[in-house]
């Protein structure tokens, strides 16, 4: 991996604020009393065993899932069932999925310009320029006119990141962006994310890449059974976990 980025100063402006949030699937209580404040420029890594609600948590933040109790405020906008608020929040929050979810019928460039043109109403010319800019940033400008099916997994994930960036989001959410990739491709994607972090993007990232967490995270959050069990800076978190659950979990993933 590239040299460690300077851990950037974090502002005290609040980017995401979650208060006493609860969520049920039917009668199953997935998220319990979540309280989380994310400051602008902060990079947060969320980890935890499978089924602990990590994905659900970050999906709640851009309203892909609705929550039943508590409040979520993103960049000052309170998430409610009002469609306008949802639109506003989504245009400020970018998201990157485990399986990339590129649009297979559009070229890479079209994937990147679709939303800017139709949602942001950016002129096509300009949208394409932006797209090329971000494609350069993720180091695949030469693939612009290919289709997703013609790219490798790592390249696809980088396109997915570029696609989100084209909407110029203030916050990026990543849901296990590297877990569907072959080992050699993981590096490509992590490098791209590290670069993003260096540029000061606010990021929430579900991942089990502990190297990445150590290198870029301001804070690591450990979830279990729908709750935040422990949060801390990476160094104390990894070297000296407090809760028994965390210790157990870390011993498992670091051991192998």
């Amino acid at each position: 991996m590239a040299e460690a980025p300077k851990k950037m100063k974090v502002s005290d402006e609040v980017a995401v604020d979650i208060r006493a949030m609860n969520k049920w699937y039917g009668s199953f209580h997935v998220l319990r009393d979540i309280n989380l404040t994310v400051y602008r420029g902060e990079r947060i890594v969320i980890c935890g065993p499978s089924g602990s609600g990590k994905s659900t948590l970050i999906r709640c933040i851009n309203a892909l899932e609705e929550h039943q109790d508590g409040t979520i405020t993103v960049d000052g906008t309170r998430l409610s069932s009002d469609l306008k608020n949802i639109d506003k929040i989504r245009s400020e929050v970018g998201m990157c999925f485990q399986h990339f979810n590129l649009f297979p019928h559009l070229t890479i460039l079209e994937n990147c310009t679709l939303a800017p043109i139709w949602v942001r109403k950016t002129p096509k010319r300009e949208a394409e320029e932006t797209a090329m800019h971000f494609l350069e940033k993720v180091k695949i400008p030469e693939q612009a006119n290919k289709y997703p099916g013609q790219l490798s997994g790592g390249q696809q994930q980088r396109v997915a990141i570029a696609r989100s960036l084209c909407m110029r989001p203030k916050i990026m959410l990543f849901d296990e962006p590297t877990s569907a990739l072959d080992p050699e491709m993981i590096k490509e994607v992590l490098d791209t994310m590290i670069q993003l972090a260096e540029d000061g993007m606010t990021m929430l990232c579900v991942t089990h890449e502990m190297g990445f967490a150590r290198q870029v995270a301001n804070r690591v959050i450990f979830m279990d059974q729908g709750q935040i069990v422990e949060q801390n800076e990476p160094e104390p978190f990894f070297n000296n976990p407090q809760s028994d659950r965390t210790k157990l979990f870390l011993s498992q993933i670091l051991g192998h």
Binding site: V10, N22, F28, Y39, Q225, E230, E233
Partner: protein
């Protein structure tokens, strides 16, 4: 930038208990809200749907509820109804044997029913792989048993026919080492020769010594739903091997063979089944040596089999194409020849992949057997349109019979499609 907030270290040592969701998330109310009235538009749709349902039931319920089940004739029905709306189901009650068996002699119904029940025994090991493989022996015997039960005559005919198959099999086994394909052709030829040369005289001779016979029933006496069933099962069973052969031919890299198969498949798929049935009923006789004249049922079975085989071939071709090329190469590199790798490696997998589409073709085929009514065969529909509706007693009933036919078909085809869904689910998780 001001003072960055220090990360709040946070640890939770106890687990929060799971709590019940808010009321709006459970119970009947939630179900109604989520499923029927989640939005204004949805609510309106629910109401429209309810209204449609009401109209439908209002039309059907009285007709069913007032139905007359016991009457001698339509005139009797009308008297009993005295002007009220209601179906005259008495026709079904009186004519159901004809609807189901056609003119099959009623004293032999047990034979037909036995064949029907045995069909399921024979099918069971094919449909459910959990059953012991030994049962497949019965499946192999079933066609002969069924033929004997349904048509009757001396037991020697099916026995000798079976013997012919066995003889063919031995020829095949003996020659198999030399060339699979050659052995296959030789085996088939042996079977055919046995049938043509030996079965007739030998069965006559044996029957005169040990009769072992059931009353013979003429093909033309078989009718009703029974014929749909016979056509459906035999054509599906026969079209499968033919379909496999056509699919392999179409995948072949020998241009002439490929072209023959493509032309056959495209021709058959390009014309409606009823034109093929017309051919079976009026034209086929012209193409056979003068004086040959064989059973209409047999002619129709041949035509529908050809028809189904073309569709089967396309389904199986899909399965063949879905197999990775590595499977063919692995077979080659182990030294298996073309027929061995087809039989042992490619076809078992390709067929498994194509099962859902094969079942769909089977359903379609079963429904299409009703078209034989157009060439004056008395299948279920032909029975209704012909003898029943033109009998003096029931001239004038209409709906009851068609609804009955529709219902009977529905029960069977719906059953098959449910089975195919079960199979798809099962195959999706197989071997994992």
């Amino acid at each position: 930038m001001s003072t960055a907030p220090k990360v709040q270290a946070f640890v939770r040592h106890d687990t929060l208990p799971a709590s019940a969701p808010p009321v709006s998330e459970t119970g009947v109310v939630r179900w109604l809200r989520a499923n029927l009235f989640s939005s204004v538009g949805n609510g309106i749709m629910t109401l429209i749907a309810l209204y449609c349902l009401y109209l439908l039931l209002a039309a059907i319920v009285p007709w069913l509820a007032n139905g007359v089940w016991r009457a001698d004739s339509i005139r009797d029905c009308r008297e009993q109804l005295a002007g009220a709306t209601g179906g005259c189901f008495a026709v079904i009650a009186e004519r159901w044997p004809q609807l189901v068996f056609g003119n099959y002699p009623s004293e032999h119904y047990p034979r037909a029913i036995l064949a029907f029940v045995l069909l399921f025994v024979a099918l069971a090991p094919v449909l459910f792989v959990e059953l012991p493989r030994k049962m497949l022996w019965f499946t192999g015997l079933f066609p002969f048993i069924a033929y004997w039960l349904i048509w009757g005559g001396t037991l020697w005919v099916p026995t000798l026919a079976l013997a012919g198959v066995v003889a063919g099999f031995f020829v095949f086994r003996a020659l198999e080492r030399m060339s699979f394909f050659g052995a296959l052709v030789a085996g088939l030829a042996a079977t055919l020769a046995f049938w043509i040369v030996l079965v007739g005289p030998l069965s006559g001779a044996l029957a005169s010594i040990v009769p072992l016979r059931l009353d013979y029933v003429e093909s033309r006496e078989i009718g009703g739903f029974m014929i749909n069933f016979i056509l459906g099962t035999s054509c599906i069973a026969l079209s499968l091997p033919l379909g496999i052969a056509l699919a392999l031919g179409r995948q072949s890299n020998l241009p002439v063979i490929k072209m023959i198969c493509v032309m056959f498949i495209e021709f058959i798929r390009g014309v409606p089944l009823i034109t093929l049935l017309f051919v079976a009923s009026v034209m086929l006789a012209y193409f056979l040596p003068p004086g040959t004249n064989f059973d209409l049922i047999l002619r129709v079975i041949i035509m529908i089999t050809l028809f189904a085989a073309a569709y089967m071939a396309e389904a199986i071709r899909g399965g063949l194409a879905a197999l990775p090329k590595g499977q063919y190469e692995a077979g080659d590199s182990l030294g298996l020849d073309y027929w061995q790798s087809m039989r042992l490696i490619i076809l078992p997998q390709a067929l498994k992949i194509s099962i859902p589409s094969i079942v769909n073709i089977a359903i379609g085929l079963f429904k299409d057997t009703t078209l034989v009514s157009i060439i004056s065969m008395f299948d279920m529909l032909g029975m209704i349109k012909g003898p029943i509706l033109s009998s003096t007693d029931w001239f004038g009933v209409y709906w009851e019979l068609y609804v009955f036919a529709a219902l009977l078909f529905f029960v069977f085809t719906y059953g098959i499609s449910k089975y195919s869904q079960y199979l798809e689910r099962k195959l999706a998780t197989d071997h994992r």
